[in-house]
Symmetry: C3
Subunit: 205 residues, 3 copies
C-alpha cells in the first residue's frame, strides 16, 4: 500500500521538479535531472546523513526510470496541467506525508534517537524540494510558503506518538495520512501560515 | 572547555543563520531550519566527506535543540541585535576557530594526511556559512568577504604545527585561539582582505 | 594514460571554476575553493552517493594541490585566456569524458546495476560544474547549454556497450574518447542542442 503511494509520490514530485526546470528554460536533460533530484533527493540526503548505504534508489533502478519518464512526460502535458491543479496539490501532499513516514521508519530501523528520527522524516519530506529550488536558483519555497514543512514535522510527531502508544501500523498510517492531508489542504484553502521573520537592516552576516 | 566554546559557537552560528533567513522573509520553520544547517552543516559535510559515521549531531540531540531554539530566539531579539554587533562578531570568530580545531581533530583521529586534515578543519569552519548562503540564494560571503576563511586556514596550519612540535594541547588551544581571534578582529578593524579576482569578459564556462 | 588525461581534466575544470569565481569577484581563497570543488566535486558526490569511502581525493593530496594551484594560476593568466578559447574547450571536453569513464568504473567495481553505473558516470562528469554554478549563484549551465551533459550520458552508454561486447579496454577508451570529443566539438561548432522546455504560467510548485 505504502509502495503504491510512494510511486505516486515520486511521480508527483518529479513533475513538480520538471515544471520548475521549465521556468528556467532548461533542456530535456536538465528537466530529467531536476525531476530525478526533486523526487529522490530527499531520500538520498537522508541516507547520506544516516550512513544508510547503499542509498535506496541505487537498489531500485525502476524509481530512477519512473522519475525521469515523469519529468519528460511533463514537458508534453505541461500546457494542460493547470486544469489538474487541485489533483496535483493533493498528490503532492500525499507525497510529502509518504516521504515523511518512510524517512522516520528508516531512522527507526537504524535505532537513532527520537529527535533524529523526526529530522530524518522531515529531511525525506522536504529536501527534494529544497534541492529543486537550489538547482533552479531560487530561495527554497518550503522555507517560505504556507504550511508545508510544518505538515511534515507534525505528521512525523503524530506518527511517532501513535507508534509509541502501540497503535497498529495500518491504523497509524491511516490516521497520519488523514491528519496530514486535512491539515495541508486546510492550509492551502484558508492560506494558513507560520509567522514570518523579516529582518532588514544591519551589515553583518 | 572546548565543549563550552563549541556550544557558544553553534549558538552564534545559528543566530547568524536566522538573521540571513529573516532577510529572505522565511517563516518560523525556515528560520529554525537555516539556523540548524548554519550551525551544524559544516560538521555534517565534514563527517560525510570523511566517512565519519554516525554524523556527530545525530548522537547529540541537545545540539539540535540548541540551534533551533537559538534560531527562534533570534526572531524575538533581532531588533536589539545591532547593539550587540561587536560581541556577536567576537562570538562568531570564536566559533570559526573552535569549528576549525574540532574539524582538524576529527580528521587526525581517522588518520587522514595533513592536507586533508586542513581541508577538514576549513570545511567544518566555513561550510555552515556556505550552506546558509546557498539556502538564502546569495553568493557565499565567506568566499568574498574580508579575511574569514583565511583565518580558518591559518589557524588550522598553526594548530597542526604546534601539535607537530609537541606543544601541549592546552597551550596549543590557547595560542591558536589567541592568534585566530587577533587576526580576525584586526581584519575587521582595518578591513584587511585578500586580493580579489575580477573576471568580466569571455563567453565560456 | 587515463591518469594523465585525468590530471589535464582536473586542471581544466579547476580553471573553469576559477573563472566563474572571478565573475563573482571572489577573493583568492574563494577562487581556490571554487576551483577545487569544480574539479573534484563531481567525484566527491559520486563517492558519497555510492558509499565509496574513503573519498578518492582524500587519498591523493596531489590532486588537491593541483586544483588549488590551477585556480590561483588562472588569476594571473585570465587576461590571456580568450586566445586559448578553443584549446580550453577541447581540454574541458576531454575532462568531461575522462570523468564519465572513471565514474562508470568506480560504480562497476562496486557492482551496482547498469542504470546506477550510468548515473555515476554522469554525476562524476557534470556535478563539479553544477556545484560551481551553485556556489556562484547561477542556474547550472550544464542543465541549459548546448549538448554537454548529454555527451556524458552517451559516452557512458557507449563505453558500457563496448565493454559488454568484450571490446578490449584500450580500444574502448579510444573509441569512447573519439566519439565523445567529436560529438562535443560538433555540438559547439553547429550549436546542436536538445529541445528546451519553457514553462511560464501557473502558481504552484
Amino acid at each position: 500500500m505504502l509502495l503504491y503511494i510512494y510511486i505516486v509520490a515520486i511521480t508527483a514530485e518529479a513533475m513538480s521538479g520538471a515544471l520548475a526546470a521549465g521556468r528556467r528554460n532548461m533542456d530535456m536533460f536538465g528537466v530529467a535531472f531536476v525531476a530525478f533530484i526533486t523526487a529522490l533527493g530527499g531520500g538520498t540526503v537522508r541516507d547520506m546523513l544516516l550512513g544508510n548505504y547503499p542509498v535506496s534508489w541505487t537498489q531500485h533502478p525502476m524509481y530512477i526510470h519512473i522519475t525521469i519518464l515523469a519529468g519528460l512526460f511533463t514537458m508534453v502535458v505541461a500546457r494542460y496541467m493547470h486544469r489538474l491543479h487541485s489533483i496535483f496539490l493533493v498528490l503532492d501532499a500525499m507525497g510529502l506525508i509518504a516521504f515523511t513516514v518512510i524517512g522516520c521508519n528508516v531512522a527507526l530501523k537504524l535505532e537513532y534517537s527520537t529527535t533524529v528520527v523526526i529530522m530524518a522524516g522531515i529531511t525525506t519530506g522536504i529536501f527534494g524540494g529544497i534541492l529543486r529550488d537550489l538547482l533552479c536558483n531560487r530561495t527554497p519555497m518550503v522555507l517560505r510558503k504556507e504550511l508545508y514543512a510544518s505538515v511534515s514535522l507534525l505528521v512525523a510527531i503524530l506518527y511517532l506518538c501513535l507508534r509509541h502508544w502501540g497503535v497498529s501500523h495500518d491504523i497509524n498510517l491511516l490516521v497520519s495520512f488523514g491528519f496530514g492531508l486535512a491539515l495541508r489542504i486546510a492550509a492551502i484553502r484558508w492560506r494558513w501560515s507560520l509567522p514570518v521573520f523579516t529582518y532588514a537592516p544591519g551589515r553583518w552576516s
